[in-house]
Symmetry: C2
């Protein structure tokens, strides 16, 4: 019976992998004229997947297995999690899923138009429609406490909006004064990094860095796309993409390391458990804890560049001539309030997220109207970051997420960073020579620790269980605060 | 009701397109470690496709439509052809399909081993197993006349083994003496083409040639793979691949033009009829009539190179310095018996095919034993081409087809060439200035004629109907013979 379940899950995963490949190809190699046909391919396979994921045979199979006392811990857990996923999937009527799919398709198109025209009113009707649908969804899936929990349950299962509130209260109370302290003495110059760096050499260097992290190119690859992303068709085929910025080399490198962190998580999932929750990432926040750990805690550290700056200088001897480690390190770690989330530093980043989180809660509870959103956004940027927003394209329209109906997603970015700081602290405790090892280019022990302690468990433990198991307590903001203080105050 | 049928066919085609993308990716970009997982993806989607293609709901839908008197010609024909496909698909029990799938998987692996070791005995057991299964298949699907018709029906529907026999009788009687005449006076030298040609420049030049043919890169692309192939996910996404041979530039170019011909067919199929027989190629032979028409009748013609040799010289000024059109033309048209089918000229090519066809018929009717195959092969090469086969890798094991269980496929290569000659003759009759136009780089009228007369009909007409409609008679070897005589005898 359990074998039958394994085969069924394998079939589901095979279909899901085909959908992921259709998406990967769409962002990398697909000729432009194929766009509308491709959305048809994806929609057909998604509905086949949905049928498999909600089939009554599958449900009976799971219910029978639930009563099977011969199953071991991981088998039981796999069955439990599949039942949980099935129960959520079944709550959404097919008509709702279809309506949402149409609303997000046209929402995305209208968002693109609005960005281009710098005109929020072109997107507002879509956003209203999406909010109405998402509120409907919340009623279908049900929730306790704040309506936001209905969406967090999808992206960050086990974490409530009330818990996120507490964390962002910390951000507000402790990060705002810290930011003031840092920016008062900020005087670094990064202009030498904003000149032209040969694109092929950036690409070659990024591959070197990915290999250094331990990304296994026998089971993965890097390609180019407009927006960098990572994807996986099972742990034996995990791919990253990047966008090479000719005049912003650190943007390229940062995003390569970031996506590499995601891909290491996917490569670290069990190949044997292909198709099972045991071979799935715990949550979006945990996934982001991997990417942001590598991108920031490692990739913006002095030790990392002690090893890699000389390497980078061999690729770019002209641009980096005479740049010493300390100059380079300060240049890549400038903290300064800015308009665009994706280009922000590791401290102000969380204000960008907090603003979006507060707005999402306000929208979902009708505390603000969609029409008033741009003004509300601009006021928040003034309040938290002290900056003026020149237009909606650089303001409320800068992220694609809402056009996809992805409410409840943004906080996972901050949670990921805070988890990352907690892993970082633990690793430094376990390896007192952590920085010395990194400074010699030894990253293998880090990958190994992440593999053994986080990746290999898949979803067998919840984020909170795993965090407590590894660090002795659930997620706590104090680790990030202490990381930021130690890094930026001296 | 017809709309329901359209939606169902679209769904089937979406799944088929996803399978094609999984295959395309496997041959182009997939990391090597993903191979076994990928065959799982393909196998799962193939079985989903098979379920859709044989579903009883689908059958009832088709049977109801069969009685619908309101349908027009193309609608009726779409329904008829779907019923025909369904009927064939239903005849194969799932257990047989699975057994064949396993036999071809291991057959392919053993074939690779046998090629590497130059040891036929490593492949012989697989070949025996495959032959047994294919004979079983013939009984499931049924046939009239020769057992070979059971397989031709799949690749070249409407053409019988008895008709193919007549054509190859012509090949034997007329091409053998012609070949003798040609080779007696063959003295051209192509050594200047067998030196190193920069790979990137070969790639760039091949793209120029594909664009010149009218391949629309808004709806297609070229990538690299070990063996060149073309694929399509619908007429809005048709892709070719190539293998760049550093020391054999004409091999690269010939295969690019060949695959381009396939892709033009696919791009020329109706986008509106996506998923219907009306948007499918007629047969393997007709597909090959497109690729070989472009590769040989156009791509090896003097007029074509009158326009393109100067272009090629701008890419490769050093290698082609002082080479005049007549020298170049003779060098790319050397006719000489050789060992390897895929590297053979357009005349001797058909002896390679004829040998395979005769062997397949003999194997399927137990006239020869698998053990005796290498000796039989070598004797045939001696008889028809007058050459000695040094080893099985360059002999009986040179093609992958049998390891895939693809019996009945080879003759479509020759049929394709003979159809191509018939189109060529018709075009020359319609356009008395055919060569003059080609010599000016005007290929648009050719593409247009193929689009309007062949591509756009899809499967609405059979190969024979279409051929008669276009040229006044069914396929006839005389066009190829006359093409060959006119080209090679003067």
């Amino acid at each position: 019976m359990y074998n039958q379940f394994l085969n069924y899950r394998k079939k589901m995963k095979d279909v899901e992998s085909a959908i992921s490949l259709l998406n990967w190809d769409m962002e990398t190699y697909m000729p432009e004229g194929a766009a509308s046909m491709r959305s048809g391919h994806i929609s057909t396979l998604s509905s086949i997947y949905h049928e498999l994921a909600t089939a009554s045979d599958y449900e009976s199979m799971l219910k029978n297995l639930q009563d099977d006392t011969t199953l071991n811990f991981s088998q039981k857990r796999n069955v439990e999690l599949c039942l949980k996923d099935l129960s959520r999937a079944k709550k959404l009527p097919a008509s709702y899923v279809e309506a949402l799919s149409h609303a997000t398709s046209s929402g995305f198109i209208n968002w693109q138009k609005a960005v281009k025209a710098k005109d929020f009113s072109l997107f507002a009707p879509s956003l209203k429609k999406l909010l109405t649908l998402k509120k409907e969804e919340a009623n279908y899936v049900g929730y306790e406490g704040h309506i936001y929990n209905a969406f967090l349950a999808e992206f960050e299962p086990g974490t409530t909006s009330e818990e996120v509130d507490i964390i962002f209260q910390d951000v507000k109370e402790k990060l705002i004064p810290l930011l003031k302290q840092i920016t008062q003495k900020e005087s670094a110059d990064n202009s030498f990094l904003k000149v032209h760096f040969d694109e092929q050499k950036q690409w070659d260097f990024s591959l070197e860095l990915l290999k250094q992290m331990g990304l296994d190119f026998k089971y993965g690859r890097q390609d180019k796309s407009h927006h960098p992303f990572s994807t996986s068709f099972g742990s034996e085929d995990c791919r990253v993409t990047t966008h090479v910025h000719a005049n912003d080399v650190m943007n390229t490198i940062g995003s390569c390391i970031h996506e590499g962190g995601h891909a290491l998580y996917e490569q670290g999932l069990s190949a044997i458990a292909y198709g099972l929750p045991e071979a799935q990432a715990i949550s979006y926040g945990l996934h982001e804890s991997q990417s942001r750990f590598w991108e920031n805690n490692i990739g913006l550290s002095k030790a990392y560049w002690q090893y890699n700056l000389p390497r980078m200088q061999t690729y770019f001897p002209e641009q980096l001539q005479g740049i010493d480690l300390s100059t380079f390190y300060r240049a890549i770690n400038i903290v300064r309030p800015s308009l665009i989330r994706t280009a922000s530093d590791e401290i102000t980043y969380h204000f960008h997220i907090m603003i979006r989180y507060e707005i999402e809660k306000a929208l979902l509870t009708d505390q603000i109207k969609v029409e008033d959103l741009p003004a509300y956004w601009n006021a928040k940027y003034k309040e938290y970051l002290g900056i003026e927003v020149p237009d909606v394209a650089q303001g409320v329209l800068q992220d694609v997420h809402w056009s996809h109906g992805a409410f409840g997603y943004f906080p996972t970015y901050s949670l990921g960073s805070f988890y990352a700081a907690q892993w970082h602290a633990k690793l430094k405790e376990l390896y007192p020579d952590f920085d010395a090892k990194v400074a010699c280019g030894d990253l293998a022990f880090i990958k190994e620790w992440l593999n053994q302690n986080i990746h290999k468990h898949g979803r067998l433990y919840s984020a909170s269980e795993l965090c407590t198991k590894l660090t002795g307590e659930p997620l706590s903001f104090k680790y990030f605060l202490s990381y930021a203080q130690n890094k930026y105050l001296p």
